[in-house]
Amino acid sequence: MELYQGPLDTKEIFGRWLDEEAGSNYGAYIPFVGTIRAEDGIEALSFDIYEPVLRRWFESWQERAKERGAIVKMAHSIGDAPVHTSSYVSAVFSPKRRVALELIDEFVEDFKANAPIWKYDVKDGQRIYAEDRSTAMDGAGLLA
């Protein structure tokens, strides 16, 4: 798992991941790129990350992937990423395509629901919490 200040260099990351697994005998490599769209007058998105819980979340996914003979990788931005750049990339490598296709779906969806990352719209230099697009994590409301 890789965290970067600002937008991601997606070509470098995907190229390097490809090189890293060149000799691993995986038959399928499925990358996912999240690109920031220009909408609602935003200049950028901005992110806060709680790294200790994110690492544990990612390690649990690495275990789940391993049980199916696969591996997962991801990279995310911290701070501002302007529109038309990428703030999130992930990938699955697996021996055959079926597992990789299923895993990338499950992994990206659970990432959206449970990775401890907070998103803000950046408008006129102000950070505004993207409350209406955010999801309460599993187990939310314990202290209510």
């Binding site: 999240g34 992110f47 806060d48 709680y50 200790p52 819980v53 544990r56 995310h76 703030s87 999130y88 990206v108 990432f111 959206k112 629901a113 449970n114 990775a115 401890p116 990352i117 907070w118 998103k119 803000y120 919490y129 993207a130 409350e131 697009r133 955010s134 999801t135 309460a136 994590m137 599993d138 187990g139 939310a140 409301g141 314990l142 202290l143 209510a144």
Partner: protein
């Protein structure tokens, strides 16, 4: 005079050891509570012994209370789902509001 001085120093040392260095009878369970992302509140330290007690205290804070129904909770960076989880001195509880990565 130096002799008396030594005796006085010795006696005061014994008094100090006897009366001031006793372990506290009631142990204080100081835990740290951190609020992440948009909650934008500095961490606080509280004397509570379990999550139920923590919940009661946080509900009394009018800026924190509205967040509680949608926040998940981690104890020393592990996500937890049991309200009866005991807390011990030095524990760190983290309050995680709704997320949106990517």
């Amino acid at each position: 005079m130096a002799f008396f001085g030594k005796i006085i120093a010795k006696v005061s040392m014994i008094i100090e050891k006897t009366f001031y260095n006793q372990p506290k009878l009631e142990s204080e369970e100081m835990i740290k509570v951190e609020f992440l992302g948009p909650i934008a509140r500095p961490a606080i330290e509280l004397d509570v012994s379990d999550l139920r007690e923590l919940s009661t205290m946080l509900k009394e804070d009018e800026t924190i209370a509205p967040w509680l129904s949608k926040c998940a909770v981690a104890l020393n960076d592990a996500m937890i789902s049991e309200l009866d989880t005991p807390l011990k001195d030095g524990d760190r509880v983290t309050i995680l509001p709704p997320v949106c990565g990517g």
